[in-house]
Amino acid sequence: MLRYVLGRLPSALGLLAAASLLIFWLMRLVPGDPVDTLAGPDASPEARAAIRAELGLDQPFLAQYVDWLGDVLTFDLGRSFVVGGQVSDLLAAGAVNTVVLTLTALALAVTLALVTAVTAVVAQRRWLDALLAGINTVALAMPTFATGLLLVLVFAVVVPVLPSGGTPPDGFVARPDIALQYLLLPATCLAVPVWAGLSRFLTEALRSQLRQPYVTTARAVGVRHRRIVLTQALPNALPSAVTVLGIQFGTLLGGAVLVEAIFTWPGLGRLIEEAISGRDYPVVQVLLLLSVAIFVVTQLVTDVVHAWLDPRIRIGGAA
């Protein structure tokens, strides 16, 4: 098992290194010289050269990259061009909000997916299957920005019962009831596509597990259907569902950008959107790297969880 995990590490690290190089290179391609922005239009050539040297822009590309990577790894993320202030402070503030939002959405999506998939498979009712499949397809067809818009229109404009955006003024801990009101719409919006994808996959996976011969074996010794679904089919379907969830996590990160834009949620998604429109490249650079890192780590974690859930990988050694 440990060997399995260690075996995955080099390729994950390699991927991260390649991604960081790509991001750094992309950001050098961006039109416009940061020196212009900082020095202003009237600066003398000497002043420009001084700024250039201070920023390290006179160094060769690779040296700049190594420099930057070293800074990133020591959490010395530099100053924002536009907003001002330490990039790391901006990140820390945004990260809390984004983490709360995405984790809530993830928990919501996973719980609902488990409930709907298991219910459909246990109940074995035609009308329920059709109903859930219909809701599922519509949910898959709703782009996040459309869902968000609709939710705000219905629950904040037409029937104003929930706040249309923003974070709870007293934070998440002091008044959980108010925090919940603020979280409800954006988290639901973010959770919808993840729920739809996961529950669809899980339902199919459970059904295909129920067609496996071991299920017939269990039925033949008298185990009840519900018990077979819960204790036999589900543990078999879970490993691949975890992998699917890992892939869905990318959707979640992208979706967070949209949801934070719609619900004016001051998280990392807002930060990257603002940084792009303000050409604040040190911030963009770090955020891009962060999102790739999160994705790579997620993949690694899902691989490990998958392996741990499946004794054929966990124990190995076929006879």
């Binding site: 390729s11 390699g14 991927l15 390649a18 991604a19 790509l22 991001i23 992309l26 950001m27 391609l29 961006v30 039109p31 397809t137 519509v138 898959l140 067809a141 709703m142 782009p143 996040t144 920005f145 459309a146 818009l149 609709l150 705000v152 229109l153 404009v157 037409v158 249309s164 990318g250 959707t251 990160l253 992208g254 979706g255 950008v257 949209l258 834009a261 719609i262 990257i272 959107e273 792009i276 429109s277 050409r279 490249y281 963009v284 891009l288 999102s291 790739v292 994705f295 790579v296 993949q299």
Partner: protein, 267 residues
């Protein structure tokens, strides 16, 4: 494939997608105004006989803008996705022949796929600036690894089929195997992915324009219309309903096509 499209799901998908394609193609004939024309006196008018979908805050007719906006999505769906798919399949086909290029290409695909789609779109938009071209490029960039991977797995599966081996044993060259057996038998699963990718492309266009890194104002797209709708939500909640419906129905139609194709493939 024909059988798949004759199922209820397939027919519904065809009708939805076909209807919206028709609206987009005939848009210039149907639209009462030009998409950027400002109608005097019609500021934030609600749905009415003169303006079925109302007008926006600079007096433009939303129906006309929606019809024009469909055309951007059609471009992305029916040009960018097939282009990306074709390029991806070509790359996947060619590089999987040699071990070195195969491993290398797979690593590059890993790299591209490690960026969440929207994040990649943001990065590219930062480099080349917003615009319809950027949307097309983003879609192509995403679809190349998706199809490159798919064609590779598909190839591997078919290449190990006994009928391919039988031809290989009597001395068929690789090109022969590819043309006669491998390609025809591996294309079918690709049609499912094509329909899925098309629905994703609508998402991407919408999301990018929504964030302001898609089409440039004043040109409309479904995404930018929704952005306007969000901005003017409290003044004119009806503004976004038309484009919203079009986006959802287009994606739904493509998804239904994908589902009918994959269900037929499974049987």
């Amino acid at each position: 494939m024909r059988a798949a499209l004759a199922t209820p799901k397939g027919v519904a998908g065809l009708v939805l997608v076909g209807g919206i394609v028709l609206l987009g193609v005939l848009g210039p004939l149907l639209a009462p105004y030009s998409p950027t024309q400002q109608v005097p006196g019609a500021n934030l008018v609600g749905p009415s006989a003169a303006h079925w979908l109302g007008t926006d805050d600079v007096n433009r007719d939303v129906l006309s803008r929606t019809l024009a906006g469909i055309r951007v999505d059609l471009l992305v769906v029916f040009l960018a996705v097939p282009a990306g798919a074709a390029l991806g399949m070509l790359v996947g086909l060619v590089t999987s022949w040699w071990k070195v290029t195969d491993v290398l290409t797979q690593r590059v695909f890993d790299l591209v796929l490690a960026f969440p789609t929207l994040i990649l779109a943001i990065a590219l938009a930062a480099v080349i600036g917003p615009g319809t071209t950027t949307i097309v490029l983003v879609v192509v960039a995403i679809e190349v690894p998706v199809f490159g991977r798919l064609v590779r797995t598909s190839l591997r599966t078919v290449r190990e089929m006994p009928y391919v081996e039988a031809a290989q044993v009597v001395g068929a060259r690789p090109w022969w195997l590819l043309r006669r057996h491998v390609l025809p038998n591996s294309l079918e699963p690709l049609t499912v992915q094509l329909a899925l990718s098309m629905s994703v492309a609508v998402f991407i266009e919408g999301a990018m324009s929504f964030l302001g890194i898609g089409v440039k104002a004043p040109d409309p797209s479904l995404g930018s219309l929704l952005k306007d709708g969000t901005r003017l939500m409290y003044d004119a909640p009806f503004l976004s309903l038309g484009p919203l419906l079009v986006v959802v129905l287009l994606v739904l139609g493509l998804l239904l096509l994908a589902q009918s194709l994959s269900e037929a493939h499974r049987d």
